[in-house]
Amino acid sequence: MKKLIAIILTLICYNLQAQVTTLTAGQPAPDFNLKNVDNKDISFASFSDAKGYLLVFTCNTCPVSKAYEQRIIDLNNKFASAGYPVIAVNPNDPDASRGDSFEKMQDLAKSKKYPFPYLYDNGQTITNLYGARNTPHLFIVSKTDKGNMIVYTGAIDNDPEETNGSATKYAEQVISALIKGEKPSLTSTKAIGCTVKRRAR
């Protein structure tokens, strides 16, 4: 009997793991209103001159995110003035990942002098809406007549360790195409990354 209960419990818990559906290129990019590390709320509309956005789900704790910290700063420095600013969102639940608390986020943004917002997603609402699955997970958004549309999801480049001199810089390729008014040929990539830390239910 005990064994049966254990099996049933396992079954229930097993199915509780929500299947996250990731938004893909061609779908509208849902707007949001999230608290930045400076306590001000940020949404797409906060950047009135923007032509699009590099919305990146990244965190304090994941080694892959850490490896990309400087590259995300560089992307903002390179493309914000061209109308494509970085907006970073921490998708991890701070109860599931203590190093990702709002205070720790403030510390990181300060120490790295983040030139972009680093947003706290209370309740992981926006994380789940976009279906962010790993960190860092990039969504490139283009402002169009039809509203904000996703044009690319996936990795920043194919060189996490920065050892490959001839790396393919996916994010730069996509943004460069957008700046030229072209439709980006690359719409999605995959990369090894950390799981988004979800609250235990």
Binding site: A6, I7, T10, L11, C13, Y14, Q17, T22, P63, V64, R133, N134, A155, N158, P160, E161, T163, T189, K190, A191, I192, G193, C194, T195, V196
Partner: protein
């Protein structure tokens, strides 16, 4: 005379422990082709292939559950392969020291593939690349899960594909 005996004891223990370390688990490189061949040769064995990395906290947290599969008696013939997706440059620096310090009993490999765009899809189309992830294969049955497992859940999946 007491002191030298104590010294000898300490020295002996030291040598034994050194010996233990040197006999620790090796880590081989494996390509996806090699992995597929290994599975194809396995016939009635249920392969549990866990993709992990030394830097991934949830991965190393669940490794003991996979280790336990090696020691627990089961009606199902199970073979655990721990396939690290650590970078090749971390083999001697991180993976081998980790495997030795934890005295892992399972077979441990480092995935010898360079292009994540190719190998993630070759392992499973539904894999986003997030780790931990685990592939269960028995003959033509396969199940891929991108999640952290409890021991009970591992047994559940293994028995569900027998």
């Amino acid at each position: 005379m007491k002191i030298p005996i104590a010294r000898i004891c300490i020295l002996t223990i030291f040598i034994i422990s050194l010996n233990d370390v040197s006999m620790g688990q090796e880590v081989s490189l494996i390509s996806i082709d090699q992995m597929n061949k290994r599975i194809a040769d396995g016939k009635d064995t249920t392969y549990v292939i866990n993709f992990w990395a030394t830097w991934c906290l949830p991965c190393v947290k669940e490794l003991p559950h996979f280790e336990k599969l090696n020691t627990e008696g089961s009606q199902v013939k199970v073979k655990v392969l721990l396939v690290s997706v650590d970078y090749l440059s971390k083999l001697n620096e991180a993976v081998i020291p980790y495997v030795k310090s934890r005295k892992l009993k399972s077979e441990v490999f480092l995935l010898n593939e360079k292009d994540q765009q190719q190998y993630i899809d070759r392992i499973d189309k539904n894999w986003s690349g997030t780790i931990p992830a685990t592939l269960f294969i028995k003959k033509d049955q396969r199940k891929f899960e991108e999640k952290e497992f409890t021991y009970g859940e591992l047994l559940f999946v293994i028995h569900s594909i027998k």
